[in-house]
């Protein structure tokens, strides 16, 4: 039986964004407590560049998703699974936009403009404001914890489908096969 897969751009964007998030998240946790050094400044910049890249790529993903129908789910998928997966995906999209956005605003509030790859300056949407900076730091952290939990749920679902249900849900998002 041939498996209906996502389109190649959708698969590429999914894994690229996943890779960037898996780099940016631990980097963000690690860099936070470092003493001030050139390395710290560099890591903060790399983290911010990764975050802006995630945001840009997710905007592309949302546009692609809105204009391309995903492959159908296996027949007999229970309604509750469909509902939960749709809600989880919706929340993941929202968080993949909201997490970088909160980081960008936090950075502006703390008085550090974001300059993508050190070349493209992003406007400061909020001015320098210590209290707002603290608040946005908490928002950025809270959103990341929710993102972490939802990614965990996403991965748990993959394991369930692959090893318990033994269906082809995961294959839909894997590269390599022919899209028939």
């Amino acid at each position: 039986m041939s498996i209906a897969r996502y389109t190649a751009p959708a698969i590429a964007l999914h894994w690229l964004v996943a890779l960037l998030i898996f780099a940016a998240f631990p980097l963000g946790v690690y860099m936070h407590d470092l003493p001030l050094s050139p390395t710290k400044l560099q890591l903060y910049s790399y983290h911010k560049w990764l975050g802006v890249s995630v945001f840009m790529l997710v905007v592309l993903r949302v546009i692609w998703r809105a204009t391309h129908t995903p492959p159908p789910l296996p027949q007999g998928t229970p309604q509750w699974e469909i509902t939960v997966s749709h809600l989880t995906h919706l929340a993941l999209y929202g968080l993949m936009l909201a997490v970088p956005l909160s980081g960008w605003l936090m950075s502006s509030a703390k008085g550090f403009q974001t300059v993508w790859f050190g070349v493209l300056p992003l406007p400061d949407l909020v001015g320098k404001d210590k209290e707002l900076g603290k608040l946005l730091t908490e928002v950025h952290e809270a959103l990341n914890i929710i993102l972490l939990l939802l990614v965990g749920l996403h991965l748990a679902a993959v394991i369930k489908h692959r090893f318990i249900d033994r269906d082809t849900i995961l294959q839909r998002m894997l590269p390599g096969g022919r899209n028939e």
């Binding site: 001030l36 050139p38 400044l41 560099q42 703390k110 974001t114 300056p121």
Partner: protein, 187 residues
């Protein structure tokens, strides 16, 4: 009509000549700096500085200025960075508490534009600098405005790991806005 005009001009010329600016008003003045960190423009200021000067636009040859900046008053807007900047690798304010500029000459460039040259001493090193300056008067007050760039490594500002200019750029722009008051000129 012509007489009136020449009388007016004379009046203006003599009033300008009578004004000698000597007293700095620190509260109305500012000395700020701008640099790039990982390509990101950053700004900071010095909170405490003082000047001894005598400046009469009509007598530039005798004009002189000395500006002293208390380096411990450096304010980047980030407490962690301020602490680091006071340390040995940066300004080493314990050993070198003051940066000073001593003028050696001022040249008229036309209008209210001038070029000031002098020596900047920072962290025990003294180098020649030249900066454009504009001078404008407002009632009894005058204001010097100008900006010039230095390379921080010329003064060993940021040693060791901080000598890496890819993190904190070498070029630092210093901007000054110095408000001074006129004292009646001695005739």
């Amino acid at each position: 009509m012509n007489k009136l005009l020449s009388a007016l001009l004379l009046c203006l010329a003599s009033s300008a000549g009578a004004a000698e600016f000597k007293q700095l008003l620190p509260a109305e003045s500012s000395v700020t700096f701008a640099y790039k960190q990982m390509g990101v423009p950053m700004e900071g200021r010095f909170g405490k500085f003082n000047a001894q000067l005598s400046f009469d636009p009509a007598k530039l040859t005798t004009a002189q200025a000395r500006l002293d900046i208390a380096l411990a008053s450096l304010d980047t807007g980030v407490a962690e960075a301020d602490q680091e900047a006071a340390g040995k690798l940066w300004f080493n304010t314990a050993a070198f508490p003051t940066a000073s500029f001593v003028s050696s000459g001022i040249k008229a460039l036309g209008g209210n534009r001038y070029e000031a040259s002098g020596k900047l001493t920072l962290k025990g090193r003294t180098l020649d600098i030249v900066t454009p300056v504009t001078f404008s008067t407002n009632g009894a007050k005058g204001a010097f405005d100008g900006a010039f760039s230095i390379r921080r490594l010329d003064y060993k500002i940021g040693e060791g790991e901080w000598a890496d200019v890819s993190a904190v750029a070498n070029e630092v722009q210093i901007k000054f806005h110095l408000v001074v008051t006129a004292t009646p000129g001695k005739k």
